[in-house]
Point group: D3
Chain length 259, copies 6
């Protein structure tokens, strides 16, 4: 496994700040405040030796290229990419690199928003669009979205056209797990959680998952997790590093599944 950090938020539509997350999460992950075990006791002391946190330019296309190349390099070295964003726009270049290596993957996407816009504010690679682009490019075999609570008709239609499953936050027990077998990619936008659990995001949306429901989803994925990302942490809006702590716990639990 490779721990990757993508400090990029210039494709955000409302507020930047997510670019601060990789440094904060990395700092907390390797501090004394953080235990080296997963909840179930997997020893992670040696899990994060391979780390890549590239500098990223303000130009979006260049940044995406670097992100894709960083993931491709990890995959070539036989390592699964576990990425800390950044805004959600980082997921499209990650999925592109995964497709090049693995072919299409099944995706479990946890989020308050479907991120399936054709474009937002004229930007087709906005943080509101990564799954639209990834579907366009054939990166995704099955798209399963959980926690969605602000879908537009356009986005519902795009999910339906792609045969995707779009579930609300109250439907964690209806996830079509049969679609998440084989190679699975997990993409977690922290605003999929309720703001009580994850206040440090740019788009808080009440009525989301609890941290424990999210941990259960990760544990239940029947397939093999070949890559994952945790995105949209905005440390400028966090309270006492609470949301950063959630991100660190997610890194550990995903890592325990990806070792």
């Amino acid at each position: 496994m490779s721990l990757l950090g993508f400090a990029w938020d210039a494709s955000s539509s409302y507020a930047r700040g997510a670019a601060l997350a990789p440094a904060v999460v990395r700092g907390l992950l390797f501090s004394e405040a953080s235990s080296p075990y997963s909840i179930d006791g997997v020893d992670l002391a040696d899990a994060f030796g391979d780390r890549h946190f590239p500098d990223l330019p303000e130009d979006a296309a260049e940044a995406r290229a670097i992100i894709a190349a960083t993931v491709a390099a990890a995959l070539k070295a036989g390592r699964r990419p576990l990425s800390i964003g950044g805004d959600h726009s980082v997921t499209y270049p990650i999925l592109s690199a995964l497709k090049a290596a693995h072919g299409p993957v099944n995706v479990l996407h946890v989020d308050a928003h479907p991120d399936l816009y054709e474009e937002l504010g004229g930007d087709r690679w906005s943080h509101a669009c990564p799954f639209a682009r990834a579907l366009d490019d054939g990166c995704i075999a099955n798209l399963v979205q959980v926690g969605i609570r602000s879908a537009t008709p356009e986005q519902r239609a795009r999910s339906a056209a792609a045969g995707g499953a779009m579930l609300g936050a109250d439907e964690c027990d209806r996830v079509p797990w049969e679609r998440l077998q084989g190679a699975v990619y997990v993409s977690i936008d922290l605003d999929g959680l309720d703001p009580a659990f994850a206040p440090g995001v740019s788009h808080p949306e009440p009525g989301g998952l609890s941290t424990r429901e999210l941990l259960t989803l990760i544990a239940r994925v029947p397939g093999e997790i070949v890559g994952a990302d945790i995105v949209e942490l905005n440390p400028e809006r966090d309270i006492g590093m609470l949301t950063a702590g959630v991100a660190v716990r997610l890194v550990k639990e995903l890592a325990a599944r990806m070792l």
Copy 2:
């Protein structure tokens, strides 16, 4: 539907501040940070065209008269009142106006407190008394209270005498829905939620509902929601507009049921 705002908190027993809520909720509701869809996809872009946020004097009786008149005017125009308080004392004049128009209604009341005191600190129209007054005046056919966790013997007796149902926060699945048919009024004191979800209230009481449980209650009301209020948001004690965001989401979900 009419969106009403009642900036009134002079009947509060411990701390004022709730009068700030209508302006804050209204501002957030109509901002770019807020999506124009309900969770289930109802388009609310045109839902809030009719708005009335009257100035209210410090005199309580006069304020109640203006509140009742504002609601009566909406009802006369064929619009259902969706009100943003203010402290909970605003609910009694609202229910009075509803009774005048509709006769008694069934009430779903979500709160940490039953608000059934005969009087508090000598005030019979205190924010601790609205349901006592509404029962006295025959405004309520069935009273169903959910989330209660600080009832006094006096209040339990009054509920029992009125044939009401008083449920704790852990009894959301035992709501007697059969009593909430026909014309239903929904009154939500935000301290019915756990302070983790709604810290911005004057009387935080741990052990409350989650936001999702509350959304589910709203969705499950079998009757027709003919009016609703969201009260006791105290923006001076809120954290990063988190509780205001919950109020905005409740406004949308109630509106989606009331269109």
Copy 3:
């Protein structure tokens, strides 16, 4: 005097949120938590009777046109505009309207940033550019900037070319008051204050003015204050309405000078 509110933040470069400010400030200004006197005892009970808080579209040019028209209408009615933003881009259309009515004015601009960019991110009307545009259009006779602590060479050059004075936060006692006689416009970006006093802004920059230093600046303006704005309050990042309270106090002290 007219109290105006411009809920606009789509010209922000890093984070939106300032569009929430007019509703929050207005709510607090007219609440029981707010005294109706200026610090020096001017009675403001009747000061804010004329209020205009227009709805603004997402299109920037249209929004600017509405802002300018709102200010022009106030001026035509013989009222001085006291505006609550919104991001700093609202100041250019305000100054345009003032110029049309009064000719060029002298400007006291309090801010951490000079907002004198030719363009930012391709936008010549960004919140980073209003004083560049206003200088271009001849709206400003003398430009005096106080609190500046992140000027680029480009911005320093533009100020110098315009004969402006650019002072740091530690130079409040060196303001060239002789340039601020006659008709004076006061534009206050709340990030001119130190983040200790005004945490609720999108671009906190340590080392700023204290609230009292800012109040003293307002009191000392030798000319006649013919218009003023308070911009860049971001309620989503405020703590306990602290920064909103500062904005309310500034509204009152400016109003006391403008009656």
Copy 4:
């Protein structure tokens, strides 16, 4: 010296919460987080041996009687009272007891508000009235108020009639020290400080003193400090015990002057 605690806030006009202060301040004062020295090095290890934190009933007259009796007992034992409030209504019974023992004292009163109302909401002993009552009863020889920034005409007139000095927060260097000789009582409402330094109060008012300005005032009192109080800390609105820490520091610096 006696350390007294008066957990009373039922005379508050807007928000209760100040009754929580004595317990919080006492806890912090005696914790490892707190050094046993004053800023100038006075050893306070043995200063706080005599403590009285009486239970107080909800009835205001009874509560005032207990407060006065507690202070009288301390004075009889030859100890100077250093009191932690509670809302500002506690100061009147304290001054009454001091007058009975000492005759009138000179008072240094630091506050955003003059607290000189004849009555508020029908209550002549409200937290907005203690200095009116104390003047009525002849408890005060000279009244010097500092930090005032929301005086009404009524309150200005009462101060003038009593020959008092009313200074703003920007006038700390104009205190008429000659009036504060002999026996001096210091009454500190924490909202005299700017909310940046003391956010945990019920009536934050921007534009106040810095903590250091307040410490300098205490140090400069030329007379003998025969009693003091620190009031209106509202722990429910504090941030990370910041304001409680200010109160603890004030307790120490006042104690160092009163030993």
Copy 5:
């Protein structure tokens, strides 16, 4: 029942602050903000008459001796000890005193951490070790731990060797209640709760219990609760006294079971 307070945090491994908790909890418990009823309506007005909050020295062995003696005195007087910590190291001397009086008890321990280290940083009585010491000394018949999410192999082995049950936060419905009959001691580390519900702790660990799940555990204990503690509240990291409010609610619900 006796209400005890142990202001001790010198055995903490990462951050002190828990010593501030007894004063804060006690203050809030006896304030107007707190209702005198349990959730189910038990009248607690007279429940807390017997209180002991001893001063504790910095020396750990002496502090433990005082804690044990305080508990022993309560037991001798026929009162059950309900203790507010302090860090978790206070639980070992409490259990020692209970053993001396009652023999071994069954323990329900709610926590994110098992606190079963042989030693931490060279300290065998660290707050990470109380249950190891209590097992060593035969104070515990059955040890049932709930909410655990950072156990090391060493701690898992020690629990297993002692025949203990170690459950995660998602296993509240699998508690082996048959082991919690007879005399039961309940020890609640507030970090057993999710940080959303209890942010004011020194070791926040996402993925914990909700407040309601914890209240349900207390209600379901089949045995007789002969003693209880609530530990590791760190008021310096609390938000608006939210976690203190949870502690107060736990005190009430435990007291209602212990009267």
Copy 6:
């Protein structure tokens, strides 16, 4: 100049957390939220190319050795060390390395505490002792301390014995600048600032410097700044990254003096 980061807090006496600071400060320094200019306009775009943030073990002696070696390497390469701590114990190995290269330096030390204990809790290299150790070893020619407000007699004696100057926070205009000529090292403990400006520290002490006073001190140092550190930022107690922002500004202003 070299930018160094020392993520070490195991020598802290009350609360750990400072080890999180280097990652957070570095992340913010290189983000879009941060301008690349000093307040006076020095271009820092290329200033921070040389960065060393070594991993540090829990063993204190080993950690100090690595810190000293990291500084020595920078000095050998002709670069001045600008370090981000970490608790204040990191300053002693830094000064040791400087002495080996330069001989004794003059030190400007800004702090609430003198950090001159012979030992604390048995640890002679505690974060409360670095200047005692550095004086013992002859690393310091003149020691000038500013902002001190909790000195013990022991610490005052040690300063006096070393011919040091110990100034309070209200004595910024009495700094003996003549002692700070030649090679000067600047060590900034963020708790030297008032908690209003720097809440994110482990030992907040009211009555400190303002951010601007501190910036002025840095600007006025007459000698050549050959090294500097910024320590004791505790991100777990910060509010909205406010204190981290202060640290970033200090990094820039110190760098502008050290280029």
